[in-house]
Symmetry: C2
DNA sequence: CTTGAAAAAAAGTGCCC
DNA sequence: GGGCACTTTTTTTCAAG
């Protein structure tokens, strides 16, 4: 993990569709060396995956909401029981258990308010272990990135 | 935008490193046809970018925190004045203005608590327009994806 | 043990139907 | 949407620092 590896990670986080030769050129490396480094970074698990990022508005998922959930019983088992099903909910893109008075925070991506209504019925109102939940709708997205500097 | 286009989007959101021929095979399409669709989806802006997703823990950004900020004056100008500088903060990966009693919610990715301390001093304590801020540290990540079903 | 150069294999491009 | 010749890129191999 030297400076070159870190640069590669930053470049690929910005644009992973660049060709190996192109990257190598920018880094002042031979294409084969650059490739070997990228492969190493993938094998070591630092690069988790290469994905396409879509424009949410253009694929009809323009509404973002954040929900803070307080559970009635917050032990490990109850927490797990609440979190596990969220993995199968396509509209839930992030779900965390957190410190503080709130137990769980989740980020939702929805088509419209009706979809929020249906989902919150299912996830919060119908769950006897949900003591309270607060929804914050996103008005404006100031920043949203997958980039973490290394 | 037919069913095939939607399938392509879902596949590329999961793994954008697959070859065109591979995708075409799975879709029962000729490589050239598949390629034409992908190019169309990029040109139309539905596919915004192709990026590498890193493992935060392995690149020393293991700590996640969510901060809810209430501003003293919440008019458009003050809001902008608070949000704009966040774009230049590498540790801030998401920042939204939201509905409700909180004005801004942001997601931070940090190396350690010290980094949080430094950052919160700079962003919140030194800003006279920040009335109150609450920090929720992420204990467990139950789900975290860039995938939005289409 | 890492790098660079060159050849072989694979994938992507563009134009035709 | 499919087919095909052409170009670019990736992968492998191997020699050198």
């Amino acid at each position: 993990m030297d400076r070159i590896d870190r640069t590669i990670l930053n470049l690929l986080q910005t644009d992973a569709s660049r060709t190996n030769a192109d990257l190598a050129g920018e880094l002042g490396l031979a294409p084969s060396s650059c490739m070997r480094r990228i492969r190493r970074l993938k094998a070591s698990g630092m690069i988790e995956r290469i994905v396409a990022i879509l424009n949410p508005a253009k694929v009809n998922r323009g509404i973002k909401a954040m929900v803070m959930v307080e559970l009635e019983r917050h032990g490990e088992t109850w927490m797990r029981r609440f979190l596990e099903p969220l993995k199968d909910e396509p509209s839930v893109v992030q779900a965390y258990s957190v410190s503080g008075s709130t137990d769980v925070v989740m980020m939702l991506r929805l088509k419209d308010i009706e979809e929020f209504d249906t989902l919150s019925d299912r996830l919060f109102r119908d769950d006897a272990n949900v003591a309270r939940y607060t929804t914050l709708f996103v008005i404006r997205t100031a920043k949203e990135t997958t980039f973490v500097p290394v």
